[in-house]
Symmetry: C2
Subunit: 213 residues, 2 copies
Amino acid sequence: MAKADHISMSVIRRLPRYYRFLYDLKENGVVRISSRELSQRMGLTASQIRQDLNCFGGFGQQGYGYMVSQLYDEIGHILGMDRLSDTVLLGAGNMGRAIANHMDFESRGIRLTDIFDDSPQVIGQQIRGLTVRPISELETACQEHPPQVAILCIPKEAAPSIVERLLAVGVQGFWNFSHYDILYEHPGVIVENVHLGDSLMTLSYQLKTQRKM
Amino acid sequence: MAKADHISMSVIRRLPRYYRFLYDLKENGVVRISSRELSQRMGLTASQIRQDLNCFGGFGQQGYGYMVSQLYDEIGHILGMDRLSDTVLLGAGNMGRAIANHMDFESRGIRLTDIFDDSPQVIGQQIRGLTVRPISELETACQEHPPQVAILCIPKEAAPSIVERLLAVGVQGFWNFSHYDILYEHPGVIVENVHLGDSLMTLSYQLKTQRKM
């Protein structure tokens, strides 16, 4: 961790991928792996991997490789997976429900504390052990459990006013499925936008030109 | 389109984003936009935008800007949005259902033709106007409608054999939510992996370090 302050963002963006691969190796009982093997598995060069992991003080030993479990824990620690951020989910429609049921939040550094929706059909339903609350209770609920993160699975039109309210109760980061451009209105806020359509369009393009990206 | 053969993949990866922004401008009645305005809106430099769009023969005019609707259509054409790829969805659980109901497939170059699952609770249900079919009917169905694309919303363990079967019926591209590493087993296949967890981990990291990426 000694060098963690100097890590470039492109390295950080690769860390979740290392974390996933190391998890799989760990699950498959692999104790130790060389940078060459890891690179083949991940489609990176061995030198890239050594360079990336050296940013964190270097875990490998020449000719010996990396201890899978140790490296997994260390990357998890760097990513902050051992400290959970309290998180509210806005919108319990198809996408919100899928996200709530599908994601392994705890192993991604997230603790889901509340789910909100404005539809009477959905309010009161149980999702992942939480009762969906009316959006009118947002401020009260956030006083009970001040959230750091909000997941937005609401329509774009609803997003501007909800984002204002979430910022007012202290939310610092958004996982944004709504297509509302939060950063344009609120520069400086931490946002991860998920644009599934972009990924699908890129796939369509590759198919039509039969180019691998 | 004259120059389209020489476009770098990093430009292509930005096109869906241009396409989204232009769609919004079009919806808001904007007819014409300067590269400076578009750059402020998108958080890119004006010179980057001019460079990107010049790859396609240059649509803008000095001091006049871009015609929104024309540029939108042209980027859609480059991305192949005007030719739909027949597509099957594998897995009608939470994620598959959300994807089926949530995505605007047609405007992303995709025509959903069939949905498959192996759970008796789900088979026979209607999703997006399609009846969920048993996975045992995959080969028969694909003879009726040969698909180019498969969307994988199945567990990782189920993926290897399903991918083999899909490749055997002629599927060329995968939109992969399953976490199974298709490319490692089948190099050369076109794959867009969606790792929602990676995005969430990056968000967690930024929150813990309070760094914008």
